[in-house]
Amino acid sequence: MLGLGCGSVAAITWLALRMDLIDREGHPLHLTLRAPLFWFWLLWEIVKANGQVIRVILDPKLPISPRRFRVPTSQKTDIGRVIYANSITLTPGTICLDVNETELDIHALTADGELGLQSGQMDQLVSRVEGH
């Protein structure tokens, strides 16, 4: 049984190498050390943002003011930008529509969401996780 397990892992590794999947992008092990703290921070952000959006949805007047804007990114690599973009999408109330080298295209549900992102706190934290 154990042999089969090891065999499976070896086979998948071979296939993944063949698919050209294993590199710093696919398996960002160099980020692991700094990531957990960021995850906890992100979890708290998610809870806060959820609270806001839930209040908006339950409000009978449905007070949304959807807006679309761009925020600059300070990350150097693709993977940093991807972490940033996914963190933005993961916090309800803001969705990342597009990514390019210097900016993210964001859609936000309320003005609060926009203000939160424009302050750039998440950007800095992601850059710190990226560690460049």
Partner: protein
């Protein structure tokens, strides 16, 4: 003492998770256009999933089930924003225009205060 505390906590987590999922579904119905609906769906994908799975984790104890639940949560948190982003991109490419509060001002400060 301990087991009842754990039970109570996981009750709380499960029920609030279900409430989150319900709210997200309500939002899915109430919101006026695709992009705002995505925000509503995001609640269920993040907080709802986290709370429900956390509630189950408290019940599973230290076992392989716990690891599997953590993996489920991990995968959900990875795939759902990606799917959401891909959907938004595809919708934009397909000619869907997001409904905006002030259609012409792209980067103006907020004035229509929410809730």
């Amino acid at each position: 003492m301990m087991p009842s505390l754990l039970d109570g906590l996981s009750w709380l987590l499960l029920l609030s998770g279900c409430a989150c999922l319900l709210i997200s579904a309500i939002g899915l119905i109430r919101m006026p256009d695709l992009f705002t609906r995505m925000h509503a769906a995001g609640i269920g994908d993040t907080l709802g999933a986290i709370l429900v799975l956390a509630g189950l984790m408290l019940q599973s104890g230290l076992s392989i089930t716990l690891i599997k639940l953590v993996l489920i949560l991990f995968f959900l948190l990875f795939t759902s924003p990606t799917a959401c982003h891909a959907l938004a991109r595809a919708a934009l490419a397909g000619g869907q225009k997001p409904l905006l509060a002030e259609p012409n001002a792209d980067n103006s400060p907020a004035e229509q205060s929410p809730s």
